[in-house]
């Protein structure tokens, strides 16, 4: 989509809501080098999220939207859960259909868009919770990777079913006591990043959202690799402060506490050779700049 398409008819300008006028005038569609630093500087593509105050998922959502390389040609696919409460506020096309079928919907969508727009890049990005990605939707998550579907899967991992009130999920830690695991969860956290690697993903990152620079790099690279090479997966720890008994100011610390050495959200990255070679062709300038900073 050309940014020219997002214009307000002058006749209707005065009756358009303020936030839509701002979106048209200060939105970041088509902007080069979009990133998390645009948050607060320009109009965000996410308006007044409806999550709990202090929810780490809300800042993760804002980073993801701020870091899409081409929001003007990005379609997002969601699933049922807390994320589905935010999608109605998002200014890119997004689909909610059922619980757990997000990677199947995205497969059909990406195929249709590739067929309809052979000369255009249309990014498809799945964003769903851990219940949708790993439990009810695991079959479709994995199958889309086996088939090498060219889209990015982002999992907001809060290690439980937050929206239904904190039930145990497959990504919950072993031993954690929760609803539906009243004697403590009996089995280990499902190692989905490991499974993603062996299932054909070309770019896999597991991390928290405590460091926006890292989140930006991961989101951007995952989407670029998905465009050209094949499926990519990003698992972000977005703790549900409500269900693990934290205060609304404690989300960031919870993430920091969980990403230290040997902790379950220690930063992990996997890049296939093919994806690495491709990223080297799109990132050369950045590399040089980093080196320059180091030599100073």
């Amino acid at each position: 989509m050309s940014k020219e398409k997002i214009k307000i008819n002058q006749e209707f300008y005065d009756i358009m809501p303020l936030e839509y006028r701002e979106l048209v005038e200060e939105g970041t569609y088509g902007k080069e080098n979009r990133g998390w630093k645009d948050v607060g500087e320009s109009k965000e593509l996410i308006e007044e999220h409806s999550l709990c105050a202090g929810c780490p998922e809300s800042i993760a959502f804002r980073y993801v939207l701020a870091c899409l390389p081409a929001p003007e040609d990005t379609i997002m696919v969601g699933s049922t859960g807390c994320t589905s409460l935010v999608f109605p506020h998002v200014a890119v096309h997004n689909i909610h259909s059922l619980f757990g079928n997000q990677n199947a919907v995205a497969s059909g969508l990406k195929r249709a868009l590739s067929f309809r727009f052979p000369d255009k890049i249309k990014d498809v990005v799945v964003l769903a919770g851990d219940g949708a990605t790993v439990d009810i939707g695991l079959d479709m998550t994995l199958q889309s990777w086996f088939r090498q579907e060219k889209f990015t899967t982002i999992c907001f991992d809060n290690e439980l079913y937050a929206n239904t009130g904190g039930q145990s999920s497959g990504l919950m830690q072993k031993g954690f006591v929760a609803k539906m695991a009243p004697a403590g969860k009996k089995f280990d956290k499902v190692p989905l990043p490991e499974i993603a690697k062996s299932s054909g993903c070309h770019y896999v990152v597991k991390m928290t959202v405590s460091k926006p620079n890292r989140v930006e790099k991961a989101i951007r690279e995952a989407i670029l690799v998905a465009r050209e090479i094949g499926p990519t997966y990003i698992q972000l720890y977005t703790p549900c402060i409500l269900e693990i008994g934290k205060q609304m100011m404690e989300g960031l610390q919870e993430m920091r506490d969980s990403e230290g050495p040997n902790k379950r959200f220690e930063f992990e990255e996997y890049v296939s050779d093919e994806a690495r070679a491709y990223l080297d062709t799109v990132n050369p300038k950045k590399k040089k700049r980093k080196k320059a900073i180091v030599t100073k």
Partner: protein
């Protein structure tokens, strides 16, 4: 709209895009002898389908595989095998959200596995074509013909048409797209046939040349935004009604359900024009009628012939569309009838229920004969049922 202007041009495969009415009624047709599965291949070849996704299940596997051949030959834009029917129907949804004309097929347990998708397709106004080659859904496992699954999808909100023969099947597949994609309808459509009886037997089918094809789907004639970022996105709402517990949320949900049902009703006018009516009737001045859909009608016709030879006059009504149901047409066609027999290939008799709910004095309806689990229904079974009921009637008069 854009669709019209494409008539006379050629698609990627080199087929000439023709006016649908020309393809349906005027283009020269050639007689071919083929199975129902082959009918799918021939219809989809002329339907300008963008995306088809398949999953194997008896008896539709053969048809779904042949659509794959069409993709290799360039008649279908994109094709792959999904991982199960639930996923396939979601993949179809994704493709349809993205503005593609979509085709898929399933049967029996596959229909039920996919079930959650159907009301979602309806609510999302996705004009996906689903061919159901119906079969048993019971345990112990049965792969045999049985129409129970049609009764199970009746209230999903989809358009549901039931073909009697291979010829019906060919025509419904093509006409179905034209009705389902009308902007005032824009709903998914299930084209049902009786598994094996139609899918695996050969029949005469008259088909136009494969040099012609339907106009492509124009996704922008859509009551909903196409999810392709070619139209400006809106923040859908400040206070989204999803899962909110307030009056405006309930009212929005309720009115949307009413609207999707109204869209199904609005399909009547398009369907009547293309199919020449939602029912087909013969000798409905008779006091005894057979009313049903699918191959039960074909068997009914044979029973009518056998009974006529014995001097018993029986009329017949064929119901083509299960949704929208031809309430008024059935009421009119049955107004002279004293006894209405509803033969069905399932154990519950959902068609009899539909008819009973449509007509006055519904004690006239005899629910049956029923066969199930793959049993065939020889015309003699229908004849026997009719005679048995008539004999009982006579007895009760003498008493």
């Amino acid at each position: 709209m854009a669709t019209k202007s494409l008539i006379g041009t050629y698609n990627k495969k080199g087929q000439k895009i023709v006016d649908p009415d020309y393809l349906f009624y005027d283009a020269p047709r050639e007689r071919q002898f083929m199975t129902g599965s082959e009918v799918v291949r021939e219809a989809i070849k002329r339907a300008n389908v963008d995306v088809s996704i398949s999953y194997p299940i008896t008896p539709q596997s053969e048809a779904a595989a042949m659509v794959g051949d069409l993709w290799v030959e360039g008649y279908v834009g994109e094709y792959f095998r999904g991982e199960n029917e639930f996923a396939v129907m979601s993949e179809c949804a994704g493709a349809s959200f993205g503005g593609a004309r979509v085709f898929t097929t399933t049967s029996g347990p596959g229909t039920l596995r996919a079930y959650e998708n159907f009301p979602m397709w309806v609510g999302s106004r996705l004009p996906i074509m689903l061919n159901m080659m119906v079969r048993g859904v019971n345990s112990p496992l049965s792969i045999q013909p049985d129409t129970l699954e049609i009764g199970l999808i009746i209230d999903t909100g989809m358009l549901i048409w039931h073909a009697e023969s291979a010829q019906d099947f060919f025509d419904y597949l093509l006409m179905g797209y034209m009705v389902a994609e009308e902007p005032d309808v824009h709903l998914p459509i299930a084209i049902c046939i009786d598994g094996f009886f139609v899918s695996h037997t050969k029949d005469d089918v008259y088909i136009p040349s494969a040099d012609f094809t339907l106009p492509p789907y124009d996704p922008y004639r859509n009551p909903m935004p196409v999810m392709d970022m070619e139209v400006p996105p809106v923040r859908m709402m400040r206070d989204p009604f999803v899962m909110k517990s307030n009056y405006i949320s309930y009212a929005t949900q309720a009115s949307w359900q009413q609207e999707t049902r109204a869209a199904c009703e609005r399909s009547r006018k398009h369907t009547i024009r293309l199919l020449g009516g939602l029912i087909e009737e013969e000798n409905t001045d008779a006091e005894i009628l057979i009313v049903s859909s699918g191959t039960a009608v074909a068997q009914g016709r044979e029973a009518v012939r056998l009974l006529a030879a014995e001097g018993i006059k029986v009329g017949i009504v064929k119901i083509k569309t299960i949704r929208p149901f031809p309430y008024e047409e059935v009421r009119q066609a049955t107004k002279n009838a004293k006894i209405i027999f509803v033969p069905e290939f399932n154990v519950v008799g959902w068609m009899a229920r539909e008819i009973k709910a449509s007509i006055p004095d519904n004690h006239r309806v005899v629910e049956g004969p029923h066969v199930a689990g793959g049993m065939t229904m020889p015309p003699e079974v229908i004849v026997e049922e009719i005679k048995k009921v008539l004999a009982k009637k006579k007895e009760s008069i003498h008493e």
